[in-house]
Amino acid sequence: MARYGMAIDTKLCVGCMDCVVACKTENNVPEGYNRDWITEEAFGKFPNINLEIRSERCNHCENAPCVSSCPTGASHYHDIGGVVLVEYNECIGCKACIASCPYDARFIHPDGYADKCTFCIHRVEEGKDPACVSVCPTNCMIFGDLDDPNSEISKQLNSRKHHSLKPVAGTNPKIFYLT
């Protein structure tokens, strides 16, 4: 059983937003909304300033509060890779999942249901990479099976320093940032 995750090399990401555009195009994300976005975090003291550029999205947490707070079971772990998905026809738009997400990765689609990154599961099922990964001009994003020791993502995570977002929230995110 695969366990899908993503690693993003912050040394290669230039914040070009190709991933954002690819996602919006691939998934028909409505105007004014984003399933993925770019975050720039600057820290340090001049002249020693560090800048980390990150492509962010739903972290497809292993202990996802959006799944446990959903009253109808619309938010669920997909059989393939443990990807966190929303069954639109079961969502009542109560917004409990949005309130429970420490990453604010979800939003209400203009049609009324909760929406977010799906890891482009429709592409993954066809053996392709998610749209954001496939268009990245610097190849900073790696998508793959975290349980396969020979996958590129496992090799990178085993050999490079990395961090996830808000690990203290206890959600076990499956997106990692290589530093």
Binding site: M17, V20, G32, Y33, N34, W37, I38, T39, E40, E41, A42, F43, G44, K45, F46, I49, E56, P65, S68, S69, C70, P71, T72, G73, A74, N89, E90, C91, I92, G93, C94, K95, A96, I98, A99, S100, C101, P102, D104, R106, F107, I108, D111, G112, Y113, K166, V168, A169, G170
Partner: protein, 310 residues
């Protein structure tokens, strides 16, 4: 320096969460009031006071029915995918307080209706003669009425508790993420309901009893608020920052003036004087308690959405 910039600007999500407007605080308030009314009515039924012509347990369930329906309507208005609301009742999600709440509400309705059946009003009996038959059947069995009273108290407590647990289970919002929130909402619901029944009571016994009970609830509510703040201030940085939102931040004035001052302390002083016969009972104190309870829900829901994990 530590600066974060993002290209994300999702509607109702950025720059801070605004997903829940007036509907949810109103629903939580009305749910709390109904919870308190059920507990009070249940107590009077348990004490077999339904035989008294002026007992509040004869008319308060009607108020509960109306308030609960209004609250559920507010909740329905908040749903964004309204046509799929029925999905709540095709499943039970044990980890979701909202799922628990949906099913609790389904059980609360018949409990209130059965309570109404114990002492139905004349117009109802005239319109539906069968009501009289069931009412007489119930009134011949005192133990049933006691059990209906106990059921009202248990279901009322579950309803009041769930309105707090609903928010406190959402760990991403540190202000809500305190395990004492259920107690705050339950005791606030009880104090609001006691204030209401105190205000409308048709006999001196109930008016005096509920004024005294309300004083107890209000005093206890002050302790619960203090404990909640102490709990947040002694927790992690994000919880401390969340506490500061209501202590000194943008919600502080509303919280201290309307929730603590006008909603608890001033009516408590007035009602303490009333039960000691220094002043006459006045509807102003109960009105202040009820308004304070409503504003408490608004402050907690709105400030909670602003609080986050950095």
């Amino acid at each position: 320096m530590h600066e974060i910039t993002t290209t994300r600007n999702n509607h109702l999500i950025d720059p801070s969460l605004e997903i829940w407007g007036w509907e949810i605080p109103v629903y939580l308030f009305l749910g709390g009031m109904v919870a308190g009314m059920m507990i009070i009515t249940g107590y009077f039924l348990f004490k077999q006071r339904q035989t008294e012509e002026t007992c509040s347990c004869r008319y308060v369930p009607w108020v509960s029915l109306v308030l609960l329906s209004l609250g559920m309507f507010a909740l329905f208005l908040d749903l964004e995918h309204k046509l799929f609301t029925w999905r709540l009742y095709t499943t039970f999600q044990v980890t979701s307080p909202m799922s628990w709440g949906a099913w609790i509400l389904i059980i609360v309705y018949p409990a209130i209706l059965v309570t109404i059946l114990i002492t139905p009003p004349k117009w109802l009996v005239e319109k539906f003669p069968v009501v009289k038959k069931y009412s007489e059947w119930l009134n011949e069995r005192k133990i049933w009425i006691k059990n209906i009273g106990v059921a009202n108290m248990i279901l009322g407590a579950m309803l009041g508790m769930y309105t707090g647990i609903l928010l406190s289970s959402l760990g991403a919002r540190p202000l809500w993420n305190t395990s004492i929130l259920w107690l705050l909402f339950l005791v606030s619901g009880l104090s609001g309901a006691a204030a209401f029944v105190h205000m409308v009571a048709k006999n001196v016994y109930e008016r005096e009893l509920l004024a005294k009970a309300d004083n107890g609830f209000l005093t206890f509510e002050l302790f619960v608020i203090a404990l909640m703040i102490i709990g947040l201030l002694t927790s992690t940085q994000v919880h401390q920052e969340a506490a500061m939102l209501i202590l000194t931040g943008p919600y502080a004035a509303t919280f201290w003036v309307f929730v603590v001052g006008i909603g608890i302390i001033i009516p408590l002083i007035i009602q303490l004087m009333a039960v000691n016969h220094k002043v006459n009972h006045t509807p102003w104190a109960p009105i202040m308690v009820i308004v304070g309870g409503l504003i408490l829900r608004f402050v907690i829901v709105e400030a909670g959405q602003v609080s986050s994990w950095f």
